[in-house]
């Protein structure tokens, strides 16, 4: 059960690597949202104008082109694509995109061109112009409109240049990007004519890159100045083009040298951003560790209780998230915000229950608390298996957690990772303030330092113990909410984190919240740094061995408690 999560991390990671490699692809899919969602949207004002000017003269041509599309001749189809594109009719774009995605079909009975998607039984049909759903038909009632590579090329170009007149700058940006990647011949010329009209600076910049790319085919001075302009640019086509220039024997020596310098600059930058990305992945993994361990740091560090059920309290938090999502099915984006306090309360109450019924009989016998709470963890696991399900349950992510913040084409911050870092820092800060500034915090610290003395001063140590344990457990529940967004939620969720959490606490130094923070983050980063060359499992083993050896050298962790009290 332990390694399963490991592999999950692993696949998650390669998944992201792949996404990055196909960065271009993402941009396309992100910025050209699915057709069904695209069509029903009310047309913009600008589109209205286009419609008014172009529609009447081209109506016939438009429908004629559509008839040509149904034909067999690729030549005719190419012509039809040209016509459709030239019509400047916004509906044309829908046809062209669907065609490029090989989703354009026509019905055999009425020859109507439709978009079809594979559905349960046969194909679901959609009207390309209105976006209306036309029902599901078996495969034999429709016929696909075939296309060849020449058509695909043409389609890409046409779609891009059509999109260039789109009022949405994001669509225009994607279009220019697409043109850069396909590196069509007249690219620079086209962009030069368009750049003056372009108002958006981001798009303009990309266009300039395209123009410079075009100039790489020009004479030597043009090449040199273009290389200077492009040095350090991270666009994948720039990198590919310059790369090929350095290897081209026909190039002038000065150009090759300039290209090498430019390439070096690009590669340095890529390396820099890759390091940044590793750091980011590491910090997000570290934040998860901190979240999972910080509750433990309280129960273990402050109270000296080894709570082996801590992992299961995390699991309860994750299940609370699941149950709340089940209870409010329509409010996915908000329910997680509700889940945070709910999980805190659920896990906190369970924690208080554990403390009052079991742990309070075992104070001063840490090894016994370890065994008893391990028993609790087994019971909680089985309880979830019996009451909910032995299988993993699906927990959905709110929309604001998906997607990513694209810094540039090699570096993006996924929102779920970003939020988890922020969230764990927030939880940490909150906890720190509670312990530092509230009456409960003062009492907790007093009891931790000298139980008998605190009692003599009138602190009700029983109540403080229960509340401290509840606080630590509640934090575990909150960690569970966060984890439910990252990993599978199942009865074994807690087990995969308990050992890591203990490692973090011990590594950081027991009784020191900052130690836990530093330890968690650094272990996360170390793990991610090791991962590329050792693999996820081996990286984890290395980290474990490192901690085992570290504890030998510094038995009290990174930030030990000093002084006479710690000596005894």
């Amino acid at each position: 059960m332990y390694p399963r999560t490991q592999f999950k991390h692993d696949t998650e990671n390669t998944f992201w690597r792949n996404l990055r490699l196909f960065g271009l692809l993402i941009i396309c899919t992100l910025n050209l949202p699915s057709l069904a969602a695209d069509i029903p949207a009310a047309p913009d004002k600008a589109e209205d104008k286009l419609q008014l000017t172009g529609q009447i003269d081209t109506e016939d041509e438009f429908s004629h082109a559509l008839t040509l599309l149904r034909g067999k001749s690729f030549k005719d189809k190419l012509k039809a694509i040209d016509t459709l594109a030239a019509s400047r009719n916004p509906k044309a774009l829908h046809y062209l995109k669907a065609l490029l995605e090989a989703k354009l079909y026509y019905r055999k009975d009425d020859q109507k061109i439709i978009i079809a998607r594979r559905a349960d039984k046969g194909y679901a049909l959609i009207d390309p112009e209105s976006g209306e759903n036309l029902g599901t038909v078996p495969k034999r009632e429709i016929k696909k409109i075939t296309l060849n590579n020449a058509m695909r090329r043409a389609l890409r170009e046409k779609i891009a240049s059509l999109s260039l007149s789109n009022p949405d700058p994001n669509v225009r940006y994607a279009a220019v990007d697409e043109m850069l990647s396909s590196r069509s011949k007249g690219l620079a010329a086209t962009l030069k004519t368009l750049i003056d009209q372009e108002t958006n600076s981001k798009v303009r910049k990309l266009m300039q890159v395209g123009i410079a790319l075009g100039e790489l085919d020009g004479d030597k001075p043009a090449k040199l100045s273009a290389l200077e302009y492009l040095a350090g640019n991270l666009h994948p086509s720039v990198r590919n083009r310059i790369q090929s220039m350095t290897e081209d024997p026909s190039e002038d020596q000065a150009v090759v040298t300039a290209a090498r310098t430019a390439l070096k600059k690009i590669e340095d930058k890529v390396y820099f951003f890759n390091t940044l990305e590793t750091l980011f992945f590491g910090l997000s993994l570290g934040s998860v560790l901190v979240l999972a361990a910080i509750g433990l740091a309280i129960t273990f560090g402050v109270m000296g209780v080894i709570n082996m059920a801590h992992g299961e309290l995390i699991m309860l938090g994750a299940y609370t998230t699941y149950l709340i999502q089940q209870a409010f099915p329509g409010f996915n984006d908000l329910s997680i915000l509700l889940a945070i306090p709910a999980a805190f309360i659920v896990s906190g109450l369970v924690g208080i229950l554990i403390e009052r019924s079991i742990i309070r009989f075992l104070y001063g016998r840490p090894l016994e608390t370890l065994l008893a709470t391990f028993g609790v963890s087994l019971i909680l696991q089985q309880l979830v298996r019996s009451l909910i399900s032995p299988q993993n349950v699906p927990v959905s992510n709110p929309s604001w957690l998906s997607g990513s913040l694209q810094i540039n084409s090699v570096f993006s911050l996924t929102y779920n990772r970003l939020y988890i870092i922020l969230f764990s820092l927030l939880v940490f800060a909150g906890l720190y303030l509670i312990l530092k500034n509230t009456r409960l915090g003062l009492q907790v610290r007093a009891v931790a330092q000298n139980r008998a003395m605190a009692r003599a001063m009138g602190v009700r140590s029983g109540r403080v113990d229960a509340l401290t344990f509840g606080l630590g457990s509640g934090i575990a529940g909150v960690a569970g909410v966060a984890l439910s967004q990252l990993t599978n939620v199942g009865p074994n969720l807690g087990q995969s984190y308990i050992i890591d959490s203990f490692m973090v606490v011990v590594f950081g130094g027991v009784g020191n919240l900052f130690g836990t923070l530093v330890a968690g983050l650094s272990l996360g980063v170390a793990n991610k740094i090791l991962e590329p060359w050792a693999g996820a499992v081996l990286a984890k083993i290395f980290v474990l061995i490192f901690i085992i050896l570290f504890i030998q050298k510094y038995p009290r962790g990174l930030f030990p408690q000093k002084g006479r009290a710690a000596e005894n």
């Binding site: 090894l367 008893a372 087994l378 203990f502 499992v537 474990l544 061995i545 050896l549 038995p555």
Partner: protein
Amino acid sequence: MLLTRILKNDLGGQLLLIALLITTVTVALLNLAVPEGHALHISTYTVTLLGKYLTYGLLAIAVDLVWGYLGILSLGHGAFFALGGYAMGMYLMRQIGDRGVYGNPDLPDFMVFLNWQELPWFWLGFDMFWFAAIMIMLVPGLLAFVFGWLAFRSRVTGVYLSIITQALTYALMLAFFRNEMGFGGNNGLTDFKDILGFDLQADSTRVGLFVASALALALGYLSCRYVMNSRLGRVAVAIRDAEDRTRFIGYRVEHVKLWIFTFSAILAGIAGALYVPQVGIINPGEFSPLNSIELVVWVAVGGRATLFGAVIGAIAVNYGKTYFTAAIPELWLFALGALFILVTVLLPRGVVGLLQQLKRKQT
């Protein structure tokens, strides 16, 4: 005689060994001499099950030695057990020879499957039983020695030690799950054919392994009792109760801990080696931290620092496990969990402690 001297003042141990002797002889006879179908016949399945319990008993003694007498709660004894098991498993794998699925005389099946070209160096020698027998003790012993040398020297004690032993087990489990390690990865080692030339499926071999387990348990018990009766045993208890004080009267606490810990790991390794041919498989699951904690509760149930209590606990809990997992599987984890809680909160001295208390009340 040595035997009587060791068992002097150890009523529990005497009873245990007598019970062990009687059971071994009866079970062996009832399996081999009484024909199948007869009401008194004991099936080979039962013999193997009992044999398995006895190896658990030996493992429990090993844990009790360090936990009960030395105060070290090791959550890593499952790892020593598994390492001994793997050493035996490697020997049994080599005994398969060309009778595997792929019929390769030089490589075990899983290596053929993974396209290994030759036997890795650490498999060399495992075709000889004496070599495997040495490794069964050497590998867990060496690991315990190195680990203990590091940990005890820097005075890692109590909970910290428990946690890092757990980390050790966990790291080993992750490592053995990897195919690249050359120990069969996920599936471990299995499909054994014979041991020392005897067919593992034969009744007589099974009975032989059962008797061997009983013998190992008895010898293990006696040697542990010998150590604990010696002055070294008293030093161990002194360390458990007041480590600093022991140091200030001149004992090298680290050395005492190290030797007893290593000895205990070797016992665990032997238990693992006897366990594997009886259950017919060893896989990385044996390294799971859960197993290591579970075996601590066997000792706790029986009663710490009694040795025979550990054996009783191991057999009782595992009988319960066999019964529950067959009859009402959902209930087993509840029962085990409750056992952990009840024993630590209500019965800190285990069943044996309870009996002693009752006896004291009577007198």
